[in-house]
Assembly symmetry: C2
Homo-oligomer: 357 residues x 2
C-alpha cells in the first residue's frame, strides 16, 4: 500500500527523532511491501525563521492532503519572546483546528524495564500503569472566545470561554467508548459538573452516548479528585475521557506518573482515518543536535499511525515489540538511563530498533 | 481577648471533628485568658434537611458578623441527586462569595511521622514536602457567566467564563508574595499564558505586583507542567500562586502527594482579618458517627484561624506542636494508621491533643 506522511521535523531535537523514525518506517515498508513518502514541511520556530510565520500555508495544505502527519516537536527559547499568532505553539493549535483533530489519544504506560524511574511508590509501580487519556482537542477554553478589555476607569480585565456543543461531546465520547471495547472496558469521564454548566452538559451527553455501549462501564469523576487519584492509585483507571483543558493537565500528570515521559507517544485524530502523530515530550533545545535525544516516543507515535491511520496492525505491533526489545536489551538514552544499562545515542537507538524489527 | 467563631459542623464527620476542635480551642482559651464563643450554624445537607436551603440567611448573617468561621464538612450521597442552588456545595460557594473569601491558603505538608503513607517514591518523601498553595477563590470559571442554550436546530451547547479583573489578580498576588516573605521567598505563579488571555493578564499583573517585592523570587509555570512537577520534584515549590480552577486541581494534587490528606487544613481569607477555616478532607459519610474520623485537620485549621484572624501566633504554634506531639506518640486514626502505631478514636485523639497543649 502507498501512504503519504506529511512530516514536520520542527525544532530542537525534532529533526533527530524524526530521522530515526523514518529509518524504522522504511524498514517496515520494506517488510510489508508498502511505499511511504515523507514530504518534509516547516512548522514552529523553523517555519518562523524561514517564512516569518509558524504555520505556513504550504504546510497546512500538504498536511490536509496527506494520509497522516508525523511531527517531531516545536518551540524553544529562541522564539519565546514572540507574541500572539507568532508563537511557535500556534502551529500546533492551527494544525489541530484546521485538520479537525478533535480526539487526542495519550497512552500513559509504565514500561516495566523502566519502572525504577517511576516517581510513585515502588509498590504502585510494581502494579503497572496502563491508562489511555482521551482528550477533546478542538473545543473548550483553547478555542472559545477570548478578549482583553478595559472597564470605565481604565482597569483591565480578560476572559476566556469554555464552550462545548453536544455534538462535540458525542463524537469524543464515542472515541473513548470504542477504545474501551478493545481494552478492559472501563471509561472514567472527568468533569467539574458540580460547578460548570459545560461539564453538566458533558456528563449528560456522555451518559447518553454510553447507553449504546452496554458492555462498557462508565463512571464520572471530578477533575480535582482525578488529579489526586492518578497519584494515589493509577491502577483504577483504564480510559480517561475529558475536555481539552482538563485533558492537558491530566494527560501530562498521567504521563509523568509513569516516569517514562520521554517514551510516550500521542495521536490526534479527525473523523476520518487521518491524524497527526507526535511524541509527548518537547523540543529539548538543551540537547538538540548532540545525538542524545530519545527517539522511542516518536517511533511509538509512528506505530500508532500505522495502526490507526493506515490500518497496519501487524506492522504497528512489530514496531512496538521492537521498542520493548531494545529496552529489554538494556539500551538507554540519557533521559531514561539508570545504573547497569548501556548509554545509547539517538542514532544508535534508531539502528537498534531497526535491527530488532 | 474575645472572639466569635461562627461554627458550621455540617454533614458526615463534620460534627465530630468540630466537637474535638472546640475542646482544643477551649483549652487554648483557658491558657491564654481568651473568650471564644461558638454560635452553631447550619449549612449544606444539614441545612437542606432543616430549612430546605443549603445556606440559610441566618447562617450567612452570623458568619458575616463573626470574627471567623470554622467549618467541618458539607455534602454526602443523601443530597447528591439535588440540582442547581440546592446542591450542598452551593453553601461553600455562597459563603466564599458573600464573605469575599478571595484567598484560599492550602498548605501541603508531609508530616515526617506519616511519611510511609506518601504515595511518591520514598526518596522524594525523605526530602520532605512543604508547599503553600494560594488559590484565588472568588473569580474565574467558578463565578463567571454560564449558560446552557440551544442552536437553531435544537442542539444544546453550554459555556462557562473564566474572567479576571486585574484588581482581583493584584490582591491575590499580594497575599502570595507576603506569605513568601515568611517562608523561603519563592513564588511560582501557575497559568496557561500560552493559550488563555486571562492567563496572559494574570502573568503580566503578577509580575507588576512582584516588582514591589525585590527579595522574592518569582517564576511562572504552565499548569500542565505544574501538574507534572508536583509529582516529579515537589521540593522545588514553596508558594504556588494560581487562579481558582487550576488551584482546585493543583491544591488537591499537592495535598495528595503528601499522603496526609486527612491532616491538611485550609484557610479562606477576605481583605480584612476575617476568614473561614476548614479541613481539606470531605464529609466521609461512610465513617460518620463512629468515632473513627481524624480531627487533626480541623484542629490545624483552627490553629490557622488563631494565627491569621486572631493574631494569636503563640497559641497557634502551641496547637501545631501538640498535633506533632500526638503523631510522634504514635497515635493514629484509621485513615493514617500504619503497623506499630496505636489506633485511636476521634474523641481519644481530641483528648490527646488537649493533653499535649
Ligand atoms: C504547547 C501547548 C499549546 C499544548 C497544549 O496545551 O495543548 C501542549 O501542552 C500539549 O499538551 O500538546
Ligand atoms: C466542593 C467543591 C465545590 C470545592 C471546589 O471545587 O472549590 C472543593 O473541591 C474545594 O476545593 O473546596
Amino acid at each position: 500500500m502507498k501512504f503519504t506522511i506529511a512530516t514536520i521535523p520542527g525544532d530542537g531535537i525534532g529533526p533527530e527523532v524524526i530521522q530515526e523514525t523514518i529509518k524504522v518506517l522504511e524498514t517496515m515498508a520494506a517488510i510489508g511491501g508498502h511505499t511511504f513518502s515523507y514530504p518534509l514541511l516547516l512548522a514552529g520556530g523553523a517555519a518562523l525563521d524561514a517564512t516569518g510565520h509558524p504555520l505556513p500555508e504550504e504546510t497546512l495544505q500538504t498536511a490536509q492532503e496527506a494520509d497522516a502527519v508525523l511531527l517531531g516537536a516545536v518551540g524553544g527559547p529562541k522564539w519565546d519572546h514572540l507574541e500572539g499568532e507568532y508563537r511557535p505553539e500556534r502551529a500546533l493549535l492551527g494544525l489541530r483546528k484546521s485538520l479537525g483533530l478533535f480526539a487526542n489519544l495519550r497512552p500513559a504506560v509504565l514500561f516495566q524495564p523502566l519502572k525504577d524511574a517511576c516517581p510513585l511508590h515502588p509498590a504502585t509501580a510494581a502494579k503497572g500503569i496502563d491508562i489511555m487519556v482521551v482528550r477533546e482537542l478542538t473545543g473548550g477554553l483553547y478555542f472559545g472566545k477570548q478578549e482583553r478589555l478595559q472597564d470605565e476607569t481604565g482597569g483591565w480585565y480578560a476572559y476566556d470561554t469554555m464552550q462545548y456543543h453536544e455534538s462535540e461531546i458525542r463524537r469524543i465520547a464515542r472515541v473513548a467508548l470504542e477504545l474501551a471495547k478493545g481494552r478492559s472496558g472501563k471509561v472514567t469521564s472527568v468533569d467539574k459538573a458540580n460547578i460548570l454548566e459545560s461539564s453538566r452538559l458533558w456528563r449528560k451527553t456522555v451518559m447518553e452516548e454510553a447507553a449504546a455501549y452496554p458492555t462498557i462501564s462508565l463512571d464520572h469523576m471530578y477533575v480535582d479528585n482525578a488529579s489526586m487519584q492518578l497519584v494515589k492509585s493509577p491502577g483504577q483507571f483504564d480510559v480517561i475521557l475529558t475536555e481539552n483543558m482538563f485533558g492537558d493537565i491530566l494527560s501530562d500528570e498521567a504521563g509523568m506518573i509513569t516516569g517514562s515521559i520521554g517514551m510516550l507517544p500521542s495521536a490526534s485524530l479527525r473523523e476520518d482515518q487521518g491524524g497527526m502523530y507526535e511524541p509527548v515530550h518537547g523540543s529539548a533545545p538543551d540537547i538538540a543536535g548532540q545525538n542524545k535525544a530519545n527517539p522511542l516516543a516518536t517511533i511509538l507515535s509512528a506505530a500508532m499511525m500505522l495502526r490507526i491511520s493506515f490500518g497496519l496492525e501487524a506492522e504497528a505491533m512489530l514496531m512496538e515489540s521492537a521498542v520493548e526489545h531494545v529496552l529489554n536489551q538494556g539500551l538507554r538514552t540519557g533521559d531514561i538511563y539508570s545504573d547497569g544499562c548501556q548509554l545509547t545515542g539517538t542514532r544508535e537507538m534508531g539502528a537498534a530498533v531497526v535491527a530488532a524489527v
